[in-house]
Symmetry: C2
Subunit: 147 residues, 2 copies
């Protein structure tokens, strides 16, 4: 398990330090598109000497080596994704969750644009997620009476 993850990093030219493994583990175990702070807070107890700087450094390295994606759907913080296959991101304006939206193939456009060289296309969708949309529908169907 740990060996597998180690190999994964090495394969992408990343020396597998304790911190880097822990951060990669976190990304691959939690598909929540975490912020730097979320990662730091989660891992900190296990690696008490960990610093935010290292988390920043590591994520920057991961992105440059192509094992993580930088997601800019949240205006406040940078978010990161260890799942690197093509998919869109949906951000719910009520609960704030960021949900993966699979691309069915037809949407994988813009790999070529006359004369331009496309590296990467990101699709960000904003609105209400299923749960929040449902709650809204319910609260509208049975409005709270105001006296």
């Amino acid at each position: 398990m740990t060996e597998l993850r180690k190999k994964y990093l090495v394969k992408h030219g990343i020396r597998p330090s304790l911190q880097r493994m822990a951060i990669m583990d976190y990304l691959l175990d939690h598909h929540t598109h975490p912020t730097v702070d979320e990662i730091y807070t989660a891992i900190s107890p296990r690696i008490p000497t960990l610093s935010r700087t290292t988390v920043y450094n590591t994520l920057k390295l991961f992105v440059s080596q192509g094992v993580a994606l930088y997601i800019s759907i949240d205006d406040r913080n940078a978010r990161f994704d260890g799942v690197i296959d093509k998919h869109a991101h949906f951000r719910c304006k009520d609960c704030g969750r960021i949900i993966d939206i699979p691309l069915s193939g037809r949407e994988e456009l813009f790999t070529e644009l006359q004369g331009m060289i496309v590296d990467y296309t990101s699709i960000n969708i904003k609105g209400l997620c299923k749960l929040c949309a449902k709650q809204k529908r319910l609260s509208q169907a049975q409005p709270i009476l105001k006296y």
Copy 2:
């Protein structure tokens, strides 16, 4: 001209102050997806008392009233667009320019996602623009000799 712009703001529930008109003018005259600072720097000479706070306030108002778009393709700064019809944005990693990419219709997906309510979809593309791609091709074709 000024009357037209005034009417445009009023139509969208925005009181047309000098500052707001100037900022909307700037957005509609420069399709460069400017940052707050770029707008501030450009307009400041004509309105010497202008503050960055007002630019922030105004852009937030514009976005909430639907006359401007918030663009998060640039990791460093918020960028804004006065052109509100659907199009994608391309950011060149060399020159940094942000270029509009028209959507041919087929790409205007994600207006409905089973159960979710979609407000807005943004498509951000990164790579090399035509000019920078050309320059790169040329420099590779005629490499500088090193002695």
